[in-house]
C-alpha cells in the first residue's frame, strides 16, 4: 500500500500544517477503535491522519494484500462522513512497537490499542515509553487514555496534550 522513499521515517512536517495524528493499526482486535479515535483527534486538531498498519514479517503476498485491504476498510469506516479529513494509508512490515515509534516521529499524537493485562507483546506500553510524541491508548469506543510526551501518564483527557505541545516556537510574528 505504500512506496518507501528516501526521506526520514516521520511524515513531512511543516510549520504551515498542524502535526499529524498517527493511527497505529496492529492486528490486536482494536484497530477499529484506534482508527476511530485517531480520526476524532484529527478532526479536533484539523490535522492529517496517517493510518499505519504494521504487519508481521514473512506473510505471503496474498495474505499481505488481504490484510492490507481489510485494514483499509477499517480506516474507511472510521472516516465515515469525515470527507474533509486528509489521510494517508501506509503498510509496513516489522516489529509493531518499534515501527510505530519510529514512524510517529514528528507527529502530534500516536494512537494505539491499549495492552491487555495478559499481553505478551506490549505495544502500547512500549510506545508510551519510547514515542517522541503524545500517545493515546484505546481499548474501546469511548475508553481512551493519553500519555503526554515523556511517558508520564496523565489523568484521562483525550485532547489534553495537543495544546501543551504545539508547534515549535518560531519568530514569525511581532
Amino acid at each position: 500500500m505504500q512506496t518507501p522513499t528516501n526521506a526520514g521515517a516521520a511524515g513531512a512536517q511543516s510549520p504551515h500544517h498542524p502535526r499529524d495524528v498517527v493511527a497505529g493499526l496492529v492486528n490486536d482486535g482494536m484497530a477499529a477503535f484506534v482508527a476511530g479515535a485517531a480520526v476524532r483527534e484529527a478532526v479536533h486538531r484539523a490535522a492529517r491522519v496517517r493510518f499505519i498498519q504494521v504487519l508481521p514479517v514473512g506473510l505471503s503476498t496474498e495474505d499481505r494484500a488481504e490484510m492490507d485491504v481489510a485494514m483499509f476498510g477499517v480506516a474507511l469506516r472510521a472516516l465515515h462522513r469525515q470527507r474533509r479529513v486528509p489521510c494517508t494509508f501506509e503498510t509496513v512490515e516489522g516489529e509493531a512497537a518499534q515501527m510505530l515509534v519510529e514512524r510517529s516521529r514528528g507527529a502530534a499524537v500516536l494512537v494505539v490499542g491499549r495492552d491487555s493485562p495478559d499481553a505478551t507483546v506490549r505495544v502500547g506500553q512500549y510506545c508510551q515509553e519510547h514515542a517522541a510524541c503524545d500517545v493515546l491508548t484505546v481499548s474501546g469506543p469511548d475508553d481512551t487514555q493519553l500519555v503526554p510526551t515523556g511517558g508520564t501518564r496523565s489523568a484521562y483527557s483525550v485532547h489534553a496534550g495537543d495544546r501543551a505541545h504545539d508547534d515549535p516556537d518560531r519568530a514569525d510574528t511581532p
Binding site: P4, V69, T88, F89, P174
Partner: protein, 607 residues
C-alpha cells in the same frame, strides 16, 4: 447600516469623555495670593467656557469626520463580492482609518489556532519576499487568536508574548489588533502597526477599528456566500450537462470525458479521472483529464481502458466512502492509491487526492479521482463534499441512461418477437393454406399449362415461406443494433490511444436492421476517418457523429492542419466507392478556423 451607526455612536461619544489635557481647571486664587475680584473671576469663567465649547466643537468635528471616513470604509469593503479583493480592501481601509503604516488581515484555519492566509498592506512584494513565510499565529498575533478581543500596545517588542521579528522585517512599534467575527465564530484578526507620526493608537482608533471589523465580517460572509452559491451553480450545471449528454444518446466514454474535463476545471485540480465497472466487473479507466503532459509524463488517453486491479479500489467503492488522501513532500511513504491516480497524467507527485465512489443505492458504479497541486491543501476540503454530490448524481444518471438503453433494447426485442410470431402464426399459415388450395386446384385442372402455372405458384409460395422462416430465425438472433453500436464505441475507444485524445462520439437514431454490408462499410468509414486524423491531421480534438434516419451519415471532424492538396487519396477513394455502392456520397470540407470534416452518406438498404 443604521444599526452599525447606532452601535458605534455611543462609543465615539465616550472618546470625548476622556480627560483632555487642554481642559482648564477652575482657578482657586490669583498669583499674588489676593482673592480674585468678581469681574476677573467672571471673565475667567467666560474664557474657560468658550475654550471648552471650542474644544468640544473640535472633538465633535473630528468625530464626524471619522464617522464619515468609517462609513466610506464600510461602503468600500461592501462594494465587492470577490473575497480576495474584499480582504485587501478591508486591510487598506483599516490602515487609512487609523493612520497606520502597515496592516494585515490574518485568516484563521479550520483548527481555529493558526493563520492560513495573511493579507498585508504597506509592505512591498520585495519586502514580503525578503521576510519569507507568512506568520502562522505565534507571539503577539497568537495572543489575539487565543484571546479574541481588541489589543493596543505601545511597543510590540516589549510585550511578554512577543517572539521578536524575523530577518528583514521592518521595525514596528505601536500595535492595534481586533478580531474579525462572522456570526459566532472568529474569521481572523486585523493587525495594524506603526501609527503615522510615531504616536500610539488611541481608544478612538480602537473604537473605529472595532466598528470596521464588524462591517468587514459581514462583507466577508457575503463574499463567501456569493462564492459558494456561484460555485454550487456551476457544479449543478455540470451535472445537468452530463445528464443531458448521457440521456440524449452520447456514449458513456465521451460523457465521462466531458465529466472529467469539467470536474478538473471546477475543482481547480491538476488531474481528474473516471473509472467505471464494465460488463464483466472490471474497474476500467474511462476518462482522464490533465494538463499538457510535460517531460516523460504519460499522455492521459494512453491509460484509457486500464484496469484498476488493487483491492483497495473495490473496498473504497463498496464502503461508499469518499476519502481525501494527502501526501506531502518528505513523507516517509507514498500512499499508493494517491500515486496511482497522480501517475495517470501530469500531476505533482505530492498533494491532495480525492477519491469519490460513484454508487446508486447498493449498486457500485465506479469512482472519480481528482488530484490537486501540492499547494492546494487549504482549498480542497470544501470541494470534496461537492465532488461527492456530483458523483451521486452521475451514478443516478448512468443508471438512468443504462436503463434507457436496456428498455430500448427490450422494446426492440419484443417488437421483433411479435413480428416473428405474427409472421409464423398468421402469414405463414395463410400462405400455407393458399398453397394447399392451389395444389388442390392443380389436381383438378384439366389444362396442362394451367396445372404448370399452378405448380409454379405453389413452388413460389414454398420459397416465400422458406424466406419468411429464415427471416423469423434472423429476428431471434442477438440484436445487431446493439452490436453495431458497441462496435463503433469500442472502435472509437481504441482509436483514442493512437490519437492521444478521446474523440467525442455521438450516435443519433436507431442502427437496427441495417444490411450487413452497410454495417461493415459504416465501421470502415469510422476507422478510416479516425486513422486519417491520427496520421495526417495533427489535431488536438476530433468528433464522430453517426446519424441514422432517411439516410445514414457518418461525420468525422477534427481541428487539425487540413488536407494537403498533394495528399494521396486512395483511402478516401475506397470510402467514396463504399458510399456510392449504397447510393450515397463522400465529401471532404475544410472547417473554420481550422480542421477538416469528412461526411459519408449512404441510403439504408435495411434488411
Amino acid at each position: 447600516m443604521t444599526t452599525l451607526i447606532e452601535r458605534t455612536r455611543p462609543r465615539i461619544t465616550s472618546v470625548e469623555s476622556e480627560p483632555r489635557e487642554s481642559e482648564p481647571s477652575k482657578p482657586e486664587s490669583t498669583n499674588d495670593g489676593t482673592p480674585p475680584t468678581w469681574l476677573a473671576t467672571a471673565a475667567f469663567d467666560v474664557d474657560g467656557l468658550l475654550e471648552d465649547l471650542r474644544s468640544r466643537a473640535r472633538a465633535s468635528d473630528r468625530a464626524q469626520e471619522r464617522l464619515a471616513a468609517l462609513l466610506d470604509a464600510v461602503l468600500a469593503v461592501s462594494a465587492d463580492l470577490d473575497l480576495p479583493e474584499v480582504l485587501a480592501r478591508i486591510v487598506r481601509c483599516a490602515c487609512e482609518l487609523v493612520d497606520a503604516k502597515y496592516g494585515a488581515l490574518g485568516v484563521l484555519g479550520a483548527d481555529g489556532e493558526h493563520l492560513v492566509e495573511f493579507v498585508t498592506h504597506g509592505l512591498s512584494q520585495e519586502e514580503q519576499k525578503a521576510i519569507g513565510d507568512p506568520p502562522r499565529g505565534h507571539g503577539v498575533l497568537g495572543l489575539l487568536i487565543r484571546q479574541p478581543r481588541p489589543r493596543r500596545l505601545r511597543d510590540i517588542a516589549t510585550h511578554p508574548d512577543s517572539h521578536g521579528f524575523p530577518h528583514n522585517h521592518p521595525p514596528m512599534h505601536s500595535f492595534l489588533g481586533v478580531p474579525v467575527r462572522i456570526r459566532d465564530g472568529v474569521f481572523g484578526n486585523l493587525y495594524l502597526t506603526e501609527k503615522q507620526g510615531g504616536a500610539d493608537f488611541t481608544a478612538d482608533d480602537e473604537t473605529i477599528l472595532v466598528a470596521l471589523a464588524a462591517a468587514a465580517g459581514i462583507a466577508i460572509d457575503n463574499a463567501r456566500l456569493y462564492e459558494r452559491s456561484r460555485r454550487l451553480r456551476r457544479w449543478l450545471e455540470t451535472t445537468a450537462e452530463v445528464t443531458q449528454l448521457l440521456l440524449e444518446g452520447r456514449d458513456e466514454g465521451s460523457a465521462m470525458g466531458f465529466l472529467a474535463t469539467r470536474t478538473r476545471e471546477l475543482s481547480e485540480a491538476q488531474l481528474a479521472m473516471v473509472a467505471l465497472y464494465d460488463e464483466v466487473g472490471e474497474l476500467v479507466i474511462r476518462a482522464v483529464q490533465s494538463g499538457e503532459p510535460s517531460g516523460a509524463a504519460v499522455r492521459p488517453d494512453a491509460v484509457l481502458g486500464t484496469v484498476l486491479h488493487k483491492g483497495h479500489w473495490r473496498e473504497l467503492i463498496a464502503e461508499h466512502e469518499s476519502v481525501l488522501l494527502l501526501t506531502r513532500l518528505g513523507d516517509s511513504t507514498i500512499d499508493s492509491l494517491s500515486a496511482d491516480v497522480r501517475a495517470l497524467g501530469d500531476a505533482d507527485p505530492h498533494g491532495p487526492t480525492a477519491l469519490v465512489p460513484i454508487t446508486v443505492g447498493d449498486d457500485e458504479v465506479g469512482v472519480i479521482g481528482v488530484a490537486w497541486a501540492a499547494d492546494a491543501e487549504t482549498y480542497v476540503g470544501n470541494v470534496v463534499p461537492l465532488l461527492a454530490a456530483l458523483a451521486q448524481e452521475i451514478g443516478l444518471t448512468l443508471a438512468a441512461a443504462r436503463g434507457q438503453q436496456d428498455r430500448s433494447r427490450l422494446a426492440l426485442l419484443e417488437d421483433r418477437d411479435r413480428i416473428a410470431r405474427d409472421m409464423h402464426d398468421h402469414v405463414i399459415q395463410r400462405l400455407f393454406a393458399t398453397g394447399l388450395s392451389l395444389q388442390a386446384a392443380a389436381r383438378m385442372a384439366t389444362s396442362t399449362s394451367v396445372r404448370g402455372r399452378l405448380d409454379e405458384a405453389v413452388d413460389d409460395l414454398d420459397a416465400a415461406i422458406r424466406d419468411i422462416r429464415h427471416t423469423i430465425f434472423e429476428l431471434h438472433r442477438p440484436t445487431p443494433f446493439r452490436e453495431l453500436r458497441e462496435e463503433i464505441v469500442d472502435l472509437v475507444r481504441v482509436c483514442a490511444k493512437t490519437l492521444g485524445f478521446s474523440p467525442n462520439l455521438t450516435i443519433e437514431g436507431s442502427l437496427e436492421g441495417l444490411a450487413v454490408d452497410l454495417e461493415a462499410d459504416l465501421i470502415a468509414v469510422v476507422r478510416e476517418g479516425l486513422t486519417n486524423v491520427a496520421r495526417h491531421a495533427q489535431a488536438s480534438s476530433a468528433s464522430v457523429r453517426v446519424t441514422s434516419g432517411d439516410t445514414i451519415q457518418v461525420e468525422v471532424a477534427d481541428d487539425g492542419v487540413g488536407v494537403a492538396p498533394t495528399a494521396v487519396h486512395s483511402g478516401l477513394a475506397n470510402l467514396r466507392k463504399r458510399a456510392e455502392s449504397h447510393g450515397g456520397s463522400l465529401t471532404l470540407t475544410a472547417r473554420t478556423p481550422r480542421g477538416t470534416a469528412l461526411l459519408w452518406e449512404a441510403l439504408p438498404d435495411r434488411d
